[in-house]
């Protein structure tokens, strides 16, 4: 179904552009492990606005200001000083619960994912968490996750300044209504359509009567991504920078 889209940009570039717009005017965006497209978006947001926001890429030396070790990311979030973070899930359900642990029973799983990383904390304390998942299907977007690494919402008496604001997939963009704990379709990416979204989404979601198409990245955005952001990515995501942007792999010795 992708033939309707002009081949002037890659999926990854569109998704980074979508995420970049969601970042908005944050003061500090942090990006965790294994998140090359959110990292692209965060660096793009910084370049677009002349040095704002602060960006902290986990695993980077050049694109982080942290000097207090691996725990500073979490301390900083606990202080309320991280505005935007990104999470994904082996499964994500319609209430915004994410599963980074397993499919099936915890004691006898059918599939095992890497683990919860910092999700069981950051999802609660970062005001705006953007969920990100490529491989949009009924296998990944499920009615109910098999294991809740971190819940999409919490009872009123649980300390929770943070939570999900949106879910970006390779097919579309949802936003999230925290009060109702429910996703709403915002736009469908170029080359995709509503029927396909419904067919491939395991949970129910709201949608406007007329669903817009996600705007394509501008030429200027593509230029920034390819010429300025891509080389920065190679430090932490050499494989991604090479396969998406053609950046040469770094040598194993410095």
């Amino acid at each position: 179904m992708k033939s309707a889209r002009p081949e002037t940009f890659r999926d990854e570039e569109l998704l980074a552009d979508v995420i970049c717009r969601l970042i908005g005017d944050a003061r500090h965006v942090a990006v965790g492990a294994a998140s090359p497209i959110p990292a692209t978006a965060a660096l793009l947001a910084r370049e677009r606005s002349g040095g704002k926001p602060f960006v902290s890429l986990l695993g980077s030396r050049a694109h982080t200001f942290f000097t207090d070790g691996a725990r500073e990311l979490f301390d900083c979030a606990g202080q309320g000083r991280i505005d935007v973070f990104f999470l994904s899930g082996g499964q994500i359900d319609g209430e915004g619960n994410i599963n980074l642990v397993n499919v099936g029973d915890y004691e006898r799983p059918k599939v095992r994912f890497p683990g919860s990383f910092g999700s069981a904390y950051l999802y609660y304390v970062v005001p705006r968490v953007i969920l990100f998942r490529v491989g949009h299907s009924r296998r990944t977007l499920v009615p109910k996750v098999d294991f809740i690494s971190a819940p999409g919402g919490s009872p009123d008496n649980v300390f929770r300044p943070g939570g999900p604001v949106a879910l970006v997939t390779d097919r579309c963009l949802f936003d999230f209504d925290r009060a109702r704990r429910r996703f709403r379709l915002v736009s469908v990416h170029p080359g995709h359509n509503l029927e396909e979204i419904i067919e491939n989404t395991g949970f129910e979601f709201d949608r406007p009567s007329d669903v817009p198409v996600t705007p394509a990245p501008s030429a200027d955005t593509l230029r920034l991504m390819r010429t300025v952001v891509a080389p920065m990515l190679a430090e932490v995501y050499p494989q991604f920078a090479q396969s998406v942007f053609g950046v040469a792999l770094p040598l194993p010795t410095a």
Binding site: R71, G78, R108, F117, A120, I148, S154, F159
Partner: protein, 272 residues
Amino acid sequence: MARITRSLDEAIAPIADGCSLAVPRETSGAAMAATRALIRRGVKRLHLVALPTSTLQADLLIGAGCIETLETSAVSLGEFGPAPRFTAAILGGTIEMRDATCPALHAQFQAAEKGVPFMPLRGLIGSDLLPHRPDWKVVDNPFGNNDPIVLLPALKPDVALFHAPMADREGNVYIGTQRELVAMAHAAQQTIVTVEEIHGANLLRDPLLAAGTLPGFYVEAVAVEPRGAWPLPLPDRYAIDAAHMAEYARLAATAEGFAQYLERYVYEKRAA
């Protein structure tokens, strides 16, 4: 108290069968040469605690049958895909898994560092991690009102093991901005470090170096192992060996391939 460096095998001698062993994340300096030496020595029944995640190091030790219990927040090979021996061990039920979340592990090490029995942490409530961790407790915040909060017990490993750029002859170790290594050493009973090289002068006597130095007081043994984090990276020194990681991911996908990998890169002591 003057300290001397040891051979790698002497340095890792305190890592006994059945002990709890703390190791850092991939980007903070994983002692991979030491890890291969442990596998060659045939260490068994380790309780491995990766602060807060691991990649190749945990996967190798699991595949080689050295791990009884794994306590960490995530194991994968990052850009090189899932961690195959970890995944196989979980699906096969051959290791005991204690799933955590990164800041919980940091807090548990900090509790040990401060000599307190527990540390509170926000988040966690409503996560399925909690029912699977009976050692984590939910209490009502005594400073709040109907405000549940999780308490995590102090985590005091028998040994902490990591790789760093340099140490001096007093056992002072330069760790730079990887300060969770300091908390790890403070929390552990013993700390064993491999380094790229020995720095000729006392690191604590130079104020600039002192700011990034773990004092030798906390260090049990130092072994010099140039490229001791290989094929993983060492901050400011060398990047990950991507070709090797891809080879590992390919071989370790099967038990047979993993055995070949061990033969070629661990038992043969071949390294970059």
